[in-house]
């Protein structure tokens, strides 16, 4: 046990530790104070200089040195006179079990760096989502950090970060561990086609991808599914909060649906006149369908420019996706080439179906037997921002607020936490915070964190690529982690080939 410092002052949430000369205490370091009954873990959130020499004298000494008058000038026993003071907070007290500290550690108590044995309480849950290893400052401790999928997913997860800090890498790492467990269904609306691994490494390289992963794309790879949705499966409700409609337009859509049922879109495009819908409204609806969904009429045929919507094929696509999610599969939908509205609409169709189904399960009393389902949505403010929700709820906000009751959750990835309403943020019980240089965003994250991160502003600002803090109602404290590089994770696992026998 190497002592790295000693408590010299402080109060609750602000413990001052003098750094031992030759030891280095970093921002974000986890330090341990042992006592007879157990030990306390302290997390460092600030560093400052300390000196036995007065400020005036220090300035004078520096001046002498800088101006060439202090040749041979040295501190007598410098390790005693100048030092670093680390400011930290006790995050956990471990006796028989981890507890929130309610007492201060002993003054003058010696402090050491955290070790693997100190973190044994971070056990592997039954349905683990691997996030990375515990990080103390910039040092990686060989202790894996997991969330329990069955709890964390339905209580929603927020991944806030500015660009380039490793959001996608983190989501891929999380999905890698979920895939193949068949314990939670995850729908990924992949706006950048980066998860499956079309060109490089991806979830397709997972040993259990064959049975556990489905990939839908308008440009499918051999063996994968075509993303095709039958127009007849789109219901007016699916547009709620996804495509902005005026009251008159909403009523017109309702009338078309009442008149033509599942052929309402086709009949709007064909310009079929019905009572109570003005020509001008019909024209606007036609334009909305053309521009937002890229569906239009050409030579009397329904054509979809982005190839997603179809009048013949894709009748069971949504149902199949929902079924697979129910069975605990990971479903990736490549939405990179289909536009925002189409992406959100597809997500909305699936989410609506899942929601309705799980509501029924709850009513039947069978929900407890069902697997949780989570939806990964990138750039979450597209559907969760305050301004979007002022015109009415959509299925995503509904899931954020009520989904937990029905075992449905969101994994919301965002650069802008501050635009998401507070009541939605409060419902998101796990946040995996990556580096963020924007103060307003950091404050929004800190304000809604599961643990008190009021002092961690600097720590969050200093998070490097791949470093994160996990704050969750399901973790004992805000755990600093180092997320592994996804590509390296893939390398670790070699695919084992099964031998198949062919009988024609």
């Amino acid at each position: 046990m190497t002592v790295c410092g000693q408590i010299v002052d402080g109060q609750v949430g602000k413990i001052l530790i003098r750094e031992k000369s030759g030891e280095k205490i970093e921002l974000g370091d986890l330090l341990v104070i042992d006592n007879s009954k157990g030990y306390t873990i302290i997390q460092i959130y600030d560093l400052l200089y300390g000196s036995q020499i007065s400020k005036l004298a220090r300035e004078q000494i520096a001046g002498l040195k800088l101006e060439g008058l202090g040749t041979g000038l040295e501190f007598f026993e410098p390790q005693l006179r100048n030092y670093i003071l680390a400011q930290g907070k006790a995050v956990l007290h471990i006796t028989n079990k981890p507890q929130v500290p309610k007492t201060l550690p002993d003054l003058f108590g010696t402090v050491r760096h955290v070790e693997k044995k100190d973190l044994q309480f971070l056990s592997k849950p039954e349905t683990p989502i691997y996030l990375g290893k515990v990080r103390s400052g910039s040092k990686i401790i060989d202790v894996p950090v997991y969330l329990n999928a069955s709890e964390a997913l339905v209580h929603h997860i927020l991944i806030p970060s500015t660009t380039g800090r490793g959001k996608s890498n983190l989501v891929k790492v999380m999905l890698w561990s979920i895939l193949g467990q068949d314990k939670a269904g995850v729908l990924v609306l992949d706006a950048h086609d980066e998860y499956y691994g079309r060109t490089g490494k991806g979830l397709k390289d997972h040993p259990k991808a064959k049975d556990g992963l489905l990939y839908y794309s308008v440009n499918p790879l051999p063996g994968t599914n075509t993303l095709v949705i039958n127009l007849k499966t789109i219901l007016p409700d699916h547009l709620d909060g996804i495509i902005q409609l005026t009251e008159a337009q909403k009523q017109a859509v309702g009338r078309y649906y009442a008149e033509f049922e599942n052929e309402w879109i086709e009949n709007i495009l064909r310009g079929e006149r019905i009572e109570g819908v003005k020509n001008v409204t019909l024209g606007v609806l036609q334009r909305i369908i053309k521009t937002k969904l890229s569906v239009y009429l050409e030579d009397d045929k329904i054509v979809c420019k982005n190839r997603v919507f179809n009048n013949t094929a894709g009748k069971s696509t949504i149902m199949e996706i929902v079924n697979k999610l129910e069975k605990g599969k990971v479903v990736i939908i490549d939405t990179s080439k289909i536009g925002d509205e189409a992406e959100l609409l597809i997500g909305s169709m699936i989410a609506n179906d899942v929601f309705a189904k799980y509501q029924n399960f709850k009513a039947e009393g069978t929900l407890s037997e069902k697997l949780p389902i989570s939806i990964v949505i990138e750039e979450a403010p597209r559907v969760l921002a305050s301004e979007k929700l002022t015109v009415g709820d959509n299925i995503y906000s509904k899931i954020a607020r009520e989904g937990r009751k029905f075992k449905i959750g969101l994994v919301a990835v965002t650069q802008l936490t501050s635009v998401i309403p507070r009541d939605v943020l409060t419902n998101i019980n796990t946040k995996i915070i990556l580096g963020n240089e924007m103060a307003t965003e950091r404050h929004a994250i800190i304000d809604s964190a599961a643990q008190d991160l009021a002092d961690d502003d600097k720590t969050i600002a200093s998070l490097d690529k791949g470093e994160a803090i996990v704050t969750s109602v399901f973790t004992k404290f805000a755990i600093p982690i180092q997320i592994p590089l996804f590509d390296e994770l893939v390398e670790e696992q070699k695919r084992s080939k099964e031998q198949l026998e062919y009988t024609g």
């Binding site: 068949d182 064959k210 499918p220 790879l221 051999p222 063996g223 994968t224 599914n225 075509t226 095709v228 179809n310 013949t312 094929a313 894709g314 009748k315 069971s316 696509t317 149902m319 199949e320 079924n323 069975k327 037997e369 080939k497 031998q499 198949l500 026998e501 062919y502 009988t503 024609g504």
Partner: protein, 417 residues
Amino acid sequence: MYRFAHLSDIHIGAFRYPLLQKLVLKAFEKAIDVCIKMRVDFIVVSGDLFDSNIPDMTLANSAVIKIREARDKAIRFYVVYGSHDFSPTQTSIVDLLESAGLFKKVTKGKIKEEGKLELEFHTDEWTKAKLCGISGRRRGIEKEYFKILNRENLEREDGFKIFVFHGPISEYKPEYLAEAESVPLSTLPKGFNYYAGGHIHEKFLGEEFGYNIAYPGTLFGADYRDLEKNAKGQERGFFIVTFSDKVENIEFVPISVCNYEMIEYDANGKDANSVQSDLLEIVSHVEPADKLVLVKVAGEMSGGKTSDIDFQRIKRILKDRKALEVLLNYQRLTSKEYAAIKVAGKDIHEIEERLFKENIGIVKVSDPKLKSESGIKLSRELLNVLKEAKKENEAKSSYESRIVSQAIDTLGIKEVF
């Protein structure tokens, strides 16, 4: 110009009722008669010609006579197994007919060392059409074959090419098969002139994604749901494809073997007595003579038991008035007073599936193969084995040992014995 016929899902041997069995056979015979009359060069059967791997021999014999008749006119038969006429443990009648030289299975191939499935083309001597394909399987194992299929080799081959398969294509899967195993289009080799599909019981042509996918559907039907669709106007038949070096024309040839009368009754909110009298009233107004009559009663009654309704009386009345056959369906009829029917489904397979799903959790076992999805799958397979009836003239002991042996194979516990 050449012609071939594309038939699928005939299901000879399906149904319990002898009359329905005869109608299935009649549909097949009619189709072959058209093929002979139209002088097709060959017939592609994309699976499930028979309803089981060992069908009723009387029915099979009649079918073989018809096949022989076509063969005598130099019409070749190219087939793949379907999910019904394949057995993982036993020889199928399809093999028998191939050995007899009546059929040619176009599924020849092998898995190479690198793990790729290499299929071989069979070239029809007269038309030079090249055929290859993958059979259907009960457990959806064909999906695995599609995954490892060496598509490039097949795509490189020139000439008029037909790919024969039995199973749903994900992109074209109807809603009622949403839970069924399927293969995505992207697993098919590209550039074939015609993709002869089976398993889907409704006719379908799809070419949106650059594949000429064709499902002729069933000729008559194999279960109540099919017959209900027939009664509601679903056209049944098969395709005749005219081709040179490409497909010139695809014609759907309708086949009809009987007339239908569909009686649908919503019993919601009515008591058993009202349902009974309403049904008697409805029945008195229909003309059932020489028709296949389907009676479907569904809904939740406000009172009485479902057994209070004398469905057999309704059946007798219709039969007395010369109905060909009367099929009753009251699986979705329940009563607030007596919830006698706990599990409902569109067909027997769905009901079985639901029962397994609902009860698999109750069985406490440690082997993961016997739990959840794999447990349900295994239960289904085992039930299919146990459902097999004793063949005529089959000794009881042979029957028992056949079933036991199949069950052992299905459970994968051969080594235990």
